[in-house]
Symmetry: none
Subunit: 404 residues, 2 copies
Amino acid sequence: MDISTVWEDLAWQQGGKIVYLILDGVGGLSDLDKGGTELQVAQTPNLDQLAKESSCGLLEIVGPGITPGSGPGHLSLFGYDPLKYNVGRGVLSALGIEFDLKENDIAARVNFATIDKQGNVSDRRAGRIATEVNRRLCEKIRDKVSLDFEGDYFFETVSEHRAVFVLRGQGLGGNLPDTDPQTTGVPAKDPTPESEDSKKTAELVRSFIDQVQQVLADEDQATGILMRGFERYQPLPAIRDRFKLDGVCVADYPMYRGVSRLIGMDVVPRPGGMKQRFQALQEVYGEKYNFYFLHVKHSDSKGEDSNFEGKVKVIEEVDQLLPLVTELNPDVLVVSADHSTPAVMGQHSWHPVPVMIHSKYAKVDDVATFDEYACGRGMLGLRPGVQLIGLALAHAGRLRKYGA
Amino acid sequence: MDISTVWEDLAWQQGGKIVYLILDGVGGLSDLDKGGTELQVAQTPNLDQLAKESSCGLLEIVGPGITPGSGPGHLSLFGYDPLKYNVGRGVLSALGIEFDLKENDIAARVNFATIDKQGNVSDRRAGRIATEVNRRLCEKIRDKVSLDFEGDYFFETVSEHRAVFVLRGQGLGGNLPDTDPQTTGVPAKDPTPESEDSKKTAELVRSFIDQVQQVLADEDQATGILMRGFERYQPLPAIRDRFKLDGVCVADYPMYRGVSRLIGMDVVPRPGGMKQRFQALQEVYGEKYNFYFLHVKHSDSKGEDSNFEGKVKVIEEVDQLLPLVTELNPDVLVVSADHSTPAVMGQHSWHPVPVMIHSKYAKVDDVATFDEYACGRGMLGLRPGVQLIGLALAHAGRLRKYGA
């Protein structure tokens, strides 16, 4: 039994407001030279004070040993089990540039690549061309390539060698294999349809790829494209319908804005900076919404750059801004992360992330600092990430009693 | 959703080496006269030092309250949920004597029993005859009993009153009930087939049992046989195919060698002793394998003998040999057990077992000794045993990121 369906049944319109403060990738590992994890080394009087007044624990976001991407990581925090609500790379890439996907659109992730004279892939990333080059190429393609069908295609820059392809029309299936051969010295793969309803999609994709190759024939590096993660976009059930939450996202980065839209949340205009985001939360805080998602990106970016000190600084900056959240006095304030990004690894990892739930009804434990080790001894224990929304709803008084 | 299928999808060929050091039945219970559990009483400086540098926790091998047999216990550690990969007693018994089972063989566990003149079972274990007597009887049976079909049967000694029966041929099903009535004073049950494809099997089994009873008519104790756990052997998906692990087993005891073969691992020739096993691990350690399973049997045997001091000695012996493993410097070293066998109980038990994961990426906690109580406060928490392989794969860098 999927417990989230029980929360759906029990959720009601009444109850308090929930704020999620998500520090992307904030979980870390000890750097012995630095004296602990990023959270342990950072000076965080405000987060620590909050921990002293909260229930603390650890979340295993997707599952044991599973390193979450940002999409699945956030879906889990919002109560959408990523193993059930599996959103593919094509859709996430489109969401990541805030492309306005419509139901039944076919989306795919694109790499510009170098295809040699023999038709073999010689560089799967076209020498990682600059984003400006990418923009020029996309414009050239949109200008010269046309598909003969009752519909539209879209071809948009992501960054460097990455782009997104979207097909919009009637009767298009998304069951195509990747054309990316995942190796060099061989031709790109043919998008052979894997279901009857994807035949037309395959023809259009073939025609698109062929035309692109002609258009790019005079380029040095990006002489062709490889496509991955074809998927027909189906919006997820809205968080309003599932958990009676009217949610709003305060984030600067497209991926997090996109994931929020995917579950039917509103999104404020890009605040354009960390402090501006905290201020934007204050501005939007009010009667219209009962669920607020405030996203901090750079804890992840600094971790991915293996920049331990930089990540510590981001955490300390958040700590200084925390009063802008606590002074709103939300009924439930959750501080956690979508995954770990230990600076010593320089990439996302599977390690559980710390979490604290501050609420009038939280079982306050003796955890006195907000870090992985202290939270590991908290009252919430070690839990799957998807359980967080249930606890947040309960602490906000937003779940009825189960049974008589 | 079964999380192990996600590990299967994410596993790739790259990454480091994993060593499992499995101390069979090492989990224990406190003996108040002795001052703690077997692990607590044992002097284990090397295991304790390793614990100080590892992530520690507890594993509930099959499930809460479930006392695992050795087969399910090990399958769980290898990532084969025993509730899904259900290997029966017949097949485990055959594997336990390293019988070379072929796909579709029908295997059953046999007890020599005493059948009285009225045809009733008077002793279900034939007075626990000695293994040498068992060997003589098996030879006698193989010599005089023949089955009239296009195939072969095998009848092999396990130990004491226990033997294995295997039928090999075309069109044989394995759906037969046990003939063992589980009580005395009544006749053995008839192997009435439970499916159409098992009718022929039932005829052959009846003929076999009847002939055996004639052959054994002149014996004192073992005057007949009882059969249990009929099963058609289907090999499990190989650990190489599931998790991209090229595994090798270093064990002396047939059951563990058999379980390893069942999942497609290689097995080194019997080292013939504890120290020899640790040395055999050193010899086989190299480029050919990335997963090493080193098995210690006597921690279980001493527990089953209710020999607390003997179990402590085995643990101390392992501790002295541990440097032979740590000096290999594997990317991931796991020390754990397949189940508990508390000396105060003298049998397997359901109690969770301690586990530690040593790796460059392990979240080192403040657990300073390797025992059930200390590990209960470790960062890994209390988890199902089947999660171990996912964590081991992750720490070895053998799982890709999940989603974008």
